[in-house]
Amino acid sequence: MHQREILSTEIVKKSKNKSKQLDFDPLPKKIIETIKSREKHMCFKKKGTDSTPQCNKSSIPGAVTQRSCVYGGARVVLMPITDAVHLVHGPIGCASCTWDIRGSLSSTSQLYKTGFSTNMEEKDIVFGGEKKLLDTLIEINRLYQPPAIFVYATCVVGLIGDDLKAVCKEAEKITSTRIIPVQSEGFRSFNKSLGHQLAGDALLDYVIGTSHPPSSSNPFTLNIVGEFNIAGDLWGIKPLLEKLGIEIISTLTGDSLVEDIARAHQANLNIVQCQKSSNYIAREMEKRYGIPYLKVNFFGISDTAYSLLSIAHFFQYPQMISRAEKLIENERKRVEDSIKIFQKRLEGKRVAVYVGGNKAWSLIKAFEELGMEVIMTGTQNGLPKDYKKIKETVQEGTLIVDDANAMELSSLLKKYNPDLVISGAKEKYLSMKMGIPFCEFNHDRITSFSGFDGYINFAQDLDRAVSSPVWDHIKKPLKAA
């Protein structure tokens, strides 16, 4: 830990990070007008206060929540496994609204982008869906011979009591492939974090540790956990690690093959990128296989640098450390030169972040390095520990919100008037309709933002979002005669 702290201060010193107070002074008494019970879900980071909002409560029925379901949580973690079949056991809509909606990229198989459903119909609800599920599993195995089939339970499966585990076990005997039940009935929790954990359990119980090829001769091996290769993010991280002489055993789960995850237990280290969804897996792997883990973050220059150094220090191999230092030095210079042009236009812009989890804190420094101010950050599914992390990361005076619904988001944007909103597809058109620039940072993202090259892309995309002349036209209405 001591070592990490030293590293951290070094990097902060190196970065241009200016620590300054945000300009809500004095802080408004009431953050926005909303339902009484919701008021505690928003707060400012302020000295002498707890600075974390109330969270992990069920959404108010009827408020247009931005949250999804447990199935959605499980699916986001598992779906990037490219050569697996992802079968949704439920009525057609659960599959047809969600297949291939995640921008995870693959360098090999495209099977994960195929939408499989058991298409439960009325008779299956009445008589049970087990037979249909078994038939479907055998058929899919015959058609595709996948190395694994993940079977996701949806709401009705839990209600009618289909024994998912038993059917999967039977199908596994018949097909001799991995058939993995995921008990992700949508209604099981208001917080999709449970889905993340269930997905983790599916990997831990049915995949990790099921393959034992000869171990690598390279002593420096690791798994990248909680990296889903959205828009190719993984491909911005992998080459950096390889340059340090590290062998990547598997990624959980971006651009991964089932076989690689099956031997993930052979790695010497886990690094965790999305700490919202995947800390659980890393912790469990430490318990089960004694693999230590490091929390990393490859968004932003200093966080990427810090992550690389932490990994090099973990392996305690002087040559790797000096390689990392050299790499960082060169890359930092290159990136700083390339982003200058964007930085000029982005400096001083005020950003509001509202995302699913991890990015609510992992992006903060990346903005600050561009001279931007994060005035608001928040998540739909934050837990107390998540908000603690947010509180520690953001500047004094930053607004922190939990589970804001559509109307609250709009009020927040109107009152605090950011220059840029970072969020997902549902919030995109809300923001843009209000004339506020928007940058996608979710499933639909098409540009990779990870690593050094990703940071240049990031700066470029932000510039594209805020600097276009279209926003000026909005401010000049048609003049009446």
Partner: protein, 488 residues
């Protein structure tokens, strides 16, 4: 063709779109799995209908995922901020039934969003636990001592039966049935107050109800344009032309600020006639005819020349109005373009995929152009659809492969077998087009990988013209441009 492919190297053993699985698709039949679904579930159809009603809030009684994922699909298609509310059912509430959540949701929406209507749809979850939405809504109304001045319409949409097509139809019927109902009329509804009360029943009798079916905002706009050109006062069910293609003015509407009003829905009972431009969404028209004697005319969706003619001829029959000069010009321009383009399009094999009305309309239109609609596919199992296509097939002498209730796996097989040259369908079918190396005309729902889905036009002469240009230019680019280069 398949022979040569057999000897090519496979790219990846498990790729469904690699060479090996292409063979699999050709060789293997499937019975159980749905692979790449081509229909949505019932709550979505209800939401789509409600989005064309002024001040309406759709509320899905179920898990949060239903409303969130549907919102996601709707937002990325229409590129508009769309709100769909949820009763946020969770484990604890499932055990005791959803009454508490539904009542709380109605309360929240009433106070936060001040709606002119709430459409409450069920889901597989709440249908299975057997929540009685009617009585819960009544309880809510009683709790509020009849202070609720807007209609709350329950719509049963079990996701495990039918598809969004049936629920779209059922939603229109539920709206008309409940709002024209005596008891509702006795209430002083907010939606009625602000309307001009002077409009006498004689004026109402001149109006024509028009059920559009699932159309894009621009298509609904075109239907309204034709009606206006024909000097016809109409009530459009439901009018999404502005709510889902709204101008940017710096404000956000949480509920549609434009659209069919509650008063208009009530007035449908007094209209001269109903024209249903859809064979799959006419139940509201059937109800109005049976209950109030409003004559129903069932027409095909006005896509292409003949179907648009039929629409306009029916309007002439109904009101004895002159055909507008503008429409005559538009028709002439479409004909002119059809003649200009005919040589490129003749005998081109096209596959059409999407909602039944759209597929039927485009089958007729492409056939009018001289193309061969060799494969048609809709996700909903539907006899009416089959009959409509068979009629076109016998009239125009085409052999048409009909997939009704199939998925994209089935469609892909047929596209391959029939050596289709151009595909028309939504964004999900892009992968079939890519793999078969044929062009795709993006149409239907959802279209998320191109801009302007809310403005895709297929209805009327003008849209026929722009669609024809698009089809022809796509064919020229794909099948003629390279030809020239090869000869140079």
């Amino acid at each position: 063709m398949p022979e040569s492919k057999k000897h090519q190297k496979k790219d990846h053993p498990h790729s469904p779109y690699g060479e090996e699985s292409q063979e699999l698709i050709a060789k293997t039949q499937k019975r159980f799995a749905v692979i790449n679904p081509s229909r949505m579930c019932q709550p979505l159809g209800a939401v789509q209908a409600l989005l064309g009603i002024r001040g309406a809030m759709p509320l899905i009684h179920g898990s949060q995922g239903c409303s969130t994922y549907m919102r996601f699909q709707l937002c990325r298609h229409y590129r508009e901020p769309i709100n769909v509310s949820s009763t946020s059912m969770s484990e604890a509430t499932v055990v005791y039934g959803g009454e508490k959540n539904l009542i709380q949701a109605l309360n929240t929406i009433t106070h936060q969003y001040k709606p002119e209507l709430i459409g409450v749809t069920s889901s597989c979850l709440t249908e299975t636990i057997g929540d009685d939405m009617d009585s819960i809504i009544n309880k809510f109304l009683q709790n509020n001592h009849n202070k609720i001045d807007f209609p709350i319409i329950p719509i049963s949409t079990p996701s495990y039966a039918g598809s969004h097509i049936e629920s779209y139809d059922q939603t229109l019927k539920a709206l008309v049935e409940k709002i024209t109902h005596q008891n509702i009329l006795k209430q002083s509804l907010k939606g009625l107050k602000d309307e001009n009360k002077k409009s006498s029943q004689i004026n109402l009798k001149d109006k024509i109800n028009v059920i559009t079916g699932l159309l894009s905002p621009m298509d609904v706009e075109e239907v309204k344009f034709i009606l206006k050109e024909m000097n016809i006062e109409s009530i459009v069910l439901t009018d999404n032309s502005q709510s889902l293609n709204s101008p940017l003015d710096g404000k956000v509407d949480f509920l549609p600020s434009k659209g069919t009003t509650i008063k208009q829905i009530r007035d449908t009972a007094y209209s001269k006639a109903t024209i249903a431009l859809s064979n799959h969404a006419n139940s509201a028209g059937v109800f109005l005819e049976k209950e109030f004697g409003v004559k129903l005319f069932n027409l095909p969706t006005p896509i292409g020349l003949r179907a648009t003619d039929e629409f306009i001829e029916t309007l002439v029959k109904l009101k004895n109005n002159q055909i507008s000069k503008t429409l005559k010009i538009h028709r002439g321009q479409l004909l002119d373009a059809m003649v200009d383009a005919h040589a490129y399009n003749y005998n081109r094999k096209v596959a059409i995929y999407g909602e039944p009305d759209m597929v039927v309309g485009l089958t007729r239109f492409t056939s009018e152009l001289g193309m061969i609609p060799a494969v048609v596919c809709t996700g909903t199992e539907c006899n009416k659809f089959k009959q409509e296509i068979e009629l076109i097939s016998s009239q125009d002498g085409h052999e048409i492969q009909i997939i009704s209730g199939g998925d994209q796996y089935d469609l892909h097989q047929k596209v391959k077998e029939e050596e289709i040259e151009i595909l028309m369908g939504n964004s999900y079918s892009a992968r079939i087009a890519k793999e078969e190396n044929i062009p795709l005309i993006r149409i239907g729902f959802p279209v998320f990988d191109r801009i302007g889905a809310q403005r895709i036009k297929i209805v009327g002469y003008r849209a026929g013209l722009s669609l024809l240009d698009l089809i022809t230019n796509t064919i020229i680019e794909k099948y003629y441009d390279n030809l020239k280069e090869e000869h140079l």
